[in-house]
Amino acid sequence: MLTHRAAQRSRPVDMPFSPVLLAGLALAPVPPRLLQPLFDAILSVVRRRHPDILERLAAYPDASVGIHPVDLPFVLILDAHPESPRLTVRRDFEGVPVTAVIRGPLAMLIALAEGRTDGDAAFFSRQLVFEGDTEVVVALRNAIDGAGIDLQADFAATLGPLARPLRHVFGLGGRLFGRIAHDMDTVRSALLAPALRGADAQTARLNELEAELTALRRTLRQRERRA
C-alpha cells in the first residue's frame, strides 16, 4: 500500500495546459462532497452498461486505485470490489491507503476510458504516470479499454437530468478557456507552484545519494574480486 506521502512525492512529467486545468481553477473552492453524487452516478452507469469491467477486475477485489486528474483540484479513489464498488471523490490521497495511483491530464484519462488513446503510448510518452501495484493498474487499464466505454453515449442512454452537471463541468472549462487564455502561464504556475515547490532540491539530493551508492557498490565488488 502506498501512503499519501509516497504519492505526494510523485508528479507527472509534463502537465499540458488544458481547458480542464482552468475548469479546475473554478472548481477549487468546491468541496469534494458536492461532486460525489456525480461520481456515484458515473459508477452506477458504468456498472449497468459495462458489467464486464468489474468482472475483469474480479481478481483484485481489495484493490483501491487512486486516479489523479492532475489538472483538477480533486482526486478519485476506485474501490473495485465486484459486489460493492465505490468511486469516491476527495481533495487528495491524504490518509487514504491506495494500491496504485494513475496520474494524467483529465482529457487523457477520459480518452483512455473511452479507448480513444492507447494506454501504453500515453505511458511511453510520459503523459501518463502510474505508481504502486503495476498489476492492478494494468488490469484496470485493460478492463476499461476492453469495455468500449463511450461516456456521452452511456450518459445519454441512462443519465437524464444528471447529465447536466457533467456537461456543466466540461462547458465551464471551455468558457474559462476563452476568457483567460491570454494569461494561461500565470494560471498554470499559480496552480502548480505549490506542488512543485522543493522538488528540484530534492531531485539533486537524490541524484547525489544514488551516485554515491552505485560507486560504493562497485568499490565493494572490486575489493571482493581482488580478495
Binding site: E210, L213, T214, A215, R217, R218, R221, E224, A227
Partner: protein
C-alpha cells in the same frame, strides 16, 4: 544415496582459445569423474572452425578414457551453412548426438538421440512425442522446477538430465551482444567474445551484478548450484546431472559433485568446498524451487 546417478559435462558454451579448449578436454578425459562429455559449438556457428582441428584428438582421448562422448548441435539454426552443418552432424555414425534445435532432431530419422536444454520440453506430451521419435535422454530447460522434473522423470520414457552447476544459459539471439558492446557488427565481430572466458558481466544501472553475455547468448551472472538438491532430485528419478564448464577447476568441481552423488560428502561440506574453488561465484538455485532463477534458497527442503 544415489543408486547410480550419472554426471555429465555439458559442452563448453564460451569461446575459449582453441588450444585451451583442447587442453581442457584432455584433462577432463584423464582426470574428471564424469560419465559423459558433450562436445560441440552450441552458441555461435562462427566459432566452430577454430575448434574443428582439435575435435578428433579430443574425442579419441575422451573415448579412450571410458567416457561417453555426445556431439551437441547448434541451438539456433538459421543460415544455409548452419543447416548443412546440422545435416553433417546428423549423419555421423557411432556417436550419440544431442539435438539443441528441433530441425536437428528431425534430421535423425528415428535414430536414438539426446535432447538438449535448448529444446522446450516442459511436459509429458512433448516428452512422449520426442521419445517416440528416438529421444533417449532429455536435459530439461533451465526453468524447469522440481515439480515438472518429477512428473517427467516418472514417465519412464527417457533418462532425465538436470543442470546443476555453472552459469545458466538463459537466452539466444540472432544478434551478438558481445560485438554490440564494442560497437562492432556481428559480421565483423573480431571474435571479441573470446576475451571473456566466463562471459562478460552485465550490471544493472545501480551497480548490481545481474547477467553475463556470451556472444549471442545471455547467461545468468550467478552460478547455478544444486549440490544441496542432488539427493532429492535423484529420489525424484533424475538419472543424470549436468555440469556446465566454467574456467575454474572443473576436475575439482566434478569431484565434489561426484562425492555428494555417491554419498561420500554431505552437501553442506561440498558447498563450502565449492565456494573455495570458485571464490568469485555467487550461487543460485531458485529455478528448482519454482522461484526466481537468481535466488539462493537456503535451508528449505526441496519438495518433489
Amino acid at each position: 544415496m544415489s543408486g547410480g546417478a550419472k554426471l555429465s559435462l555439458g559442452p563448453v558454451l564460451f569461446n575459449w582459445k582453441p588450444e585451451a579448449w583442447r587442453d581442457f578436454y584432455l584433462r577432463i578425459a584423464d582426470e574428471a569423474a564424469v560419465d559423459t562429455v558433450y562436445l560441440g559449438e552450441v552458441v555461435c556457428s562462427k566459432r566452430q572452425p577454430f575448434f574443428d582441428p582439435f575435435v578428433p584428438q579430443v574425442i579419441e582421448r575422451l573415448t579412450a578414457a571410458g567416457k561417453e562422448v555426445v556431439l551437441s548441435s547448434l541451438a539456433l539454426v538459421m543460415s544455409g551453412k548452419e543447416r548443412e552443418a546440422a545435416r553433417a552432424l546428423a549423419a555421423v555414425e557411432g556417436f550419440m548426438t544431442e539435438a539443441n534445435d528441433l530441425s536437428f532432431a528431425a534430421a535423425l530419422n528415428g535414430r536414438p538421440f539426446a535432447v538438449g536444454p535448448f529444446v522446450n520440453v516442459y511436459n509429458e506430451g512433448t516428452l512422449a512425442y520426442l521419445a517416440r521419435l528416438g529421444a533417449r535422454r532429455v536435459c530439461l530447460p533451465v526453468e524447469a522446477p522440481a515439480s515438472t522434473i518429477a512428473v517427467l522423470a516418472a514417465q519412464g520414457l527417457a533418462e532425465i538430465e538436470v543442470q546443476v552447476f555453472g552459469r545458466l544459459p538463459l537466452a539466444m539471439s540472432a544478434r551478438c551482444y558481445h560485438a554490440r558492446s564494442r560497437n562492432l557488427a556481428k559480421d565483423g565481430c573480431q571474435y571479441v567474445c573470446a576475451d571473456d572466458p566466463d562471459g562478460m558481466p552485465v550490471d544493472t544501472m545501480d551497480g548490481k551484478p545481474f547477467l553475463t553475455v556470451n556472444g549471442t547468448q545471455t547467461m545468468s551472472y550467478r552460478y547455478h548450484n544444486l549440490l544441496g538438491e542432488l539427493e532429492a532430485l535423484r529420489r525424484a528419478g533424475v538419472g543424470r546431472f549436468r555440469l556446465w564448464p566454467q574456467s575454474c577447476d572443473m576436475v575439482a568441481v566434478a569431484a565434489l559433485f561426484r562425492a555428494v552423488v555417491e554419498g561420500r560428502t554431505d552437501a553442506e561440506e561440498a558447498n563450502r568446498l565449492l565456494a573455495e574453488l570458485t571464490p568469485e561465484a555467487e550461487f543460485a538455485n531458485g529455478y528448482i524451487y519454482g522461484r526466481e532463477g537468481h535466488l539462493l534458497v537456503d535451508g528449505e527442503a526441496l519438495a518433489v
